[in-house]
């Protein structure tokens, strides 16, 4: 029997087409839309309560805090979408910041060219972060240690090293660091050069996650590790790279805090791991891997920073702020888990 004739006789019909949801309905039920509304509502609420909230000095403060979180949160998004987790980012930030400060300190006091000092610090921070990430990657890919354990060990060890290498005291970087962190874009007094650079890197990472092959493989690996491998993707190489990327961005964030705080302190980033993962979860990324969005994470980070910084505007005392932030994280996670369950059921 001839099969090509069979085929033309009855048109192929293995998958029945399905009508698509209208665009406007998709947009309304889209979780990103919900996050945008929450963010706007929060800001309006705070601004309404206290007129000082919308001043450019407060906005620049918010943006700076956001910049200190968003890179690690986005890196965490790659890692979590790929089906892993990186608990070490907070400590890696501290170690990278401390070592970068240690490298920069003597130069600042000897009035070396500022650009040289900054490049050196950035280079050291980046390198330290990547080395930490590479150690995570080796444990995970080379020795099959679960990411949770490997990066937890790195987190704990990193805390220790940051203390050892500083003796508990921060490395001061002033006056240089003060002028660098204060520099803003002409005409936009709330936007510092520093934040602009961070936002630039963030946008590039977002495009890579959504539009580039690297991002595609991140999703594929988290969605079905076997399928990715069977399709010929070098899964181990990619998984390793996610942790190196995460380390690199944690390192850069460490350098960011050096400049912002005017010192390399061993206590930097103590809560960052937690807040970054919270931002990713609030943003709708599944901890099981395979799905998530860059914009969700950015919005999640923005919401958490606004809650954290805005709490004082409604007279929440400093000690209560973590409790408020934790409550927001809990509520948002409940909403997200309900959404994920709905999605899985359908």
């Amino acid at each position: 029997m001839s099969s090509s004739e069979d085929l033309s006789a009855s048109p192929p019909n293995l998958v029945t087409p399905v009508t698509e949801v209208p665009r406007w309905r998709a947009l309304l039920t889209n979780q990103l839309t919900v996050l945008v509304f929450i963010l706007i509502a929060l800001m309006l609420f705070l601004g309404n309560h206290n007129s000082r909230f919308f001043t450019s000095s407060e906005m620049s403060f918010l943006l700076a805090d956001f910049s200190g979180l968003v890179l690690v949160a986005v890196a965490e998004t790659f890692v979590i979408i790929s089906g892993g987790i990186d608990l070490s980012v907070g400590s890696v930030m501290a170690v990278a910041g401390v070592l970068a400060a240690r490298a920069m300190q003597p130069l600042i006091n000897s009035h070396t060219n500022e650009a040289v000092v900054l490049l050196l610090g950035t280079g050291v921070a980046l390198l330290v972060g990547m080395v930490a990430g590479a150690i995570n990657a080796t444990l995970i890919v080379g020795f099959n240690v679960v990411p949770f354990v490997a990066t937890l060990a790195m987190w704990y060890g990193g805390q220790g090293l940051a203390l050892v290498w500083t003796g508990g005291q921060p490395y001061g970087l002033n006056p240089g660091a003060q002028t660098w962190s204060a520099a803003t874009i002409p005409g936009l007094p709330f936007l510092s050069w520093l934040s602009l650079i961070v936002i630039g890197i963030t946008v590039v990472l977002g495009l890579v996650l959504r539009k580039a092959r690297y991002g595609r493989y991140t999703f594929a690996i988290g969605s079905n590790n076997f399928a990715a491998r069977a399709a010929g993707i070098g899964v181990k190489k990619y998984v390793g790279s996610f942790y190196v990327l995460s380390g690199a961005l944690a390192g850069l964030t460490g350098m960011f805090f050096d400049i912002r705080l005017g010192s390399g302190a061993p206590t930097t980033g103590q809560t960052t791991t937690l807040i970054a993962i919270a931002a990713v979860v609030i943003g709708g990324t599944s901890l099981f891997g395979g799905s998530g969005t860059f914009l969700g994470t950015v919005l999640g980070a923005a919401i958490l920073i606004v809650v954290q910084d805005g709490a004082i505007f409604v007279n929440v005392s400093a000690n209560w702020v973590p409790v408020v932030v934790a409550s927001v994280v809990a509520v948002a996670s409940i909403i997200q888990s309900g959404r994920l369950r709905l999605r899985r059921r359908s």
């Binding site: 099969s3 293995l14 594929a220 399928a227 010929g232």
Partner: protein, 250 residues
Amino acid sequence: MTDTPILELRHVSKSYGSVRALTDVSFQAFAGQIIGLVGDNGAGKSSMIKTISGVYTPDEGEILVDGTPRHWKSPHDAIEAGIETLYQDSGLAPDLTIGSNIFLGRELRRRNVLGRLGFLDQRSMETQAMEELEKVGISIGAAKRTVSELSGGQRQAVAIGRAAMWAKHVIILDEPTNHLGARQSIEVLKVMKAARDRGLCVLFISHTLPHVLEVTDRIIVLRLGRIVRDAPTSEFTVESLLGTITGLNQ
């Protein structure tokens, strides 16, 4: 049919720790043939095809493609050699779209500077996915739907289509009619015949013996990791095949 087998296994053995999955497996497969691979659950069928497709490396023996011994380091090498595989335990990424799955591992990049930086041409992939699938006999609604939104049978169709559209020499289908209704199963048999007519070698694994008898040119029977029979399909009936599979026929 040419004299050199497009695919040949010579004395291949494979164990998982203490579990022996394949023992001294040898066979030859030629272009333009559909070969049935049957055997009870746990007989070693999936282990065999995963060894051919580079998921596992054989403990002993060798694999030859078109007469040349090949040593796969990963599935990537087997794909490069023109061998496509549909895995029993789904080879699709459910969170990706149909188009992204079809092009997984072979993404089209944009034809500009961005493309060189790794940025993807999603639209072309989606239109080409639809066109190419139609060519091998599978029609899908829209390639930008996520695979997790599809029914089990629809997913299976996408996976079959992917294997059929990329295969250059050998296409391996491990229980492709899983999750499929009667009519769709017939469609799959057509897809296989069309692939054979294009000159491919098709390895068809199934527990549905009437399907195997209908569509194959030759049948290999595996039992407890060994090949117990390798003969033209015309020599089998459902009863004799069943007897060989279970070992009652000897």
